[in-house]
């Protein structure tokens, strides 16, 4: 085992979230394709997404992955193209994490709230 620091964790999270999002993209294409079978089929499937708590958690995780991957992606691009970017890589990692968590708060309330009986709408 190697005890890497922020840079290594940012990279691990980036990879894992990237792979996760790609896999979801495949699934998402399939479920969207179901739309061709008409409203009954499609609505039946989307209901599963909405009603099953586990799918709400998965969606929450997906959004977390998309958010982290996006913010850390910005961090990487800044490092790549701004000559001084590397000096702030640790700070930007915490920034990406912070923004992700921040954006996840309302998302969590909206997505997971109903499961716990809050923010019903």
């Amino acid at each position: 085992m190697y005890r890497g620091r922020e840079g290594m964790w940012s990279w691990i999270f980036h990879r894992v979230s990237g792979v996760g999002v790609l896999l979801f993209l495949f699934i998402h294409i399939v479920d969207t394709a179901l739309i061709g079978w008409g409203p009954d089929v499609y609505n039946a499937v989307t209901t599963i997404y909405h009603e099953w708590a586990i799918f709400r958690f998965l969606q929450f995780t997906l959004i977390a992955a998309v958010l982290y991957h996006s913010f850390n992606g910005v961090r990487i691009i800044v490092i790549d193209f701004w000559p001084k970017g590397f000096q702030y890589q640790r700070l930007m990692f915490y920034g990406a994490m912070g923004l992700t968590v921040l954006a996840l708060i309302p998302t969590g309330v909206l997505l997971l709230g109903p499961i716990f009986g809050i923010a019903e709408r």
Binding site: Y2, R3, G4, G7, M8, W11, I79, P83, F86
Partner: protein
């Protein structure tokens, strides 16, 4: 103070697989980890094997994993690692014995990037001129002591030993940005390959591991940018 030192041991000619030996040694807090190893080797277990030479961080012999991170054993003090330490060989190279790894592939990669000045014009009688500004462009990467701490801390390198690795790229940078260097076709071919600089994933382990404080990741980023901006 008494320290407990857990060391990963392996002699491929006799051991089936690596194992850990635990030693206790009486040392000063201001001693180097290398002094701990020496104390163990000289007064307790002569079979403990590691490389070392200058003992003050300029020769690059004693890079190893100390408490999970690549360090030079002669540049870490006992008081900075505490009284329990785990010492293992660097990752990604074959272990020859205990903490000694096979450095041949490392130097092969170094040689592959043509780490020398290429300038076919006849040299002047005195020096070739270079402005202090041009000299400053590659100052950081001239500090490299080829200890391999960066390359063996690099996750892409662990999984794919074909990657030329940060150390070789640092030395490529040193010549790419030297205004006196004229032709680096072979160098460019290697560094712009799939197993070249593009395999760097900006993990920054290399930068954290460098005992000379070289901004290794940034050096590779500068190489990437140069390849991109100069493409025409």
């Amino acid at each position: 103070m008494q320290v407990t030192c857990k060391i990963r041991r392996y002699n491929p000619t006799v051991d089936e697989k690596p194992y850990f030996s635990v030693y206790r040694a009486e040392v000063e807090p201001t001693d180097r980890v290398l002094d701990v190893l020496n104390t163990i080797k000289w007064y307790e277990d002569g079979t403990l094997t590691y490389r070392r030479s200058c003992a003050h961080g300029v020769c690059g012999s004693d890079a190893m994993r100390i408490n999970g991170r690549n360090r030079l054993a002669c540049k870490v003090l006992v008081r900075d690692v505490g009284n329990r330490m785990t010492i293992e060989p660097m990752m990604g190279f074959k272990v020859l014995r205990d903490l000694v790894v096979d450095m041949e592939p490392f130097f092969e990669k170094y040689k592959a990037v043509k780490p020398y000045l290429i300038n076919d014009e006849p040299a002047p009688v005195t020096e070739r001129l270079q402005s202090p500004e041009d000299r400053a462009k590659y100052d950081d990467t001239t500090k490299c002591i080829l200890c391999a701490a960066c390359t063996t801390s690099c996750p892409p390198f662990w999984s794919n030993p074909d990657f030329v690795g940060p150390a070789a790229l640092v030395n490529a940078h040193r010549f790419i940005f030297d205004s006196r260097d004229q032709r680096g076709a072979d160098r460019a071919a290697i560094i712009s390959d799939r197993d070249g600089v593009w395999r760097c994933r900006t993990v920054f382990n290399c930068t954290d591991a460098c005992p000379r404080g070289i901004q290794v990741t940034n050096a590779m980023e500068e190489v990437k940018r140069k390849l991109l901006y100069d493409r025409a």
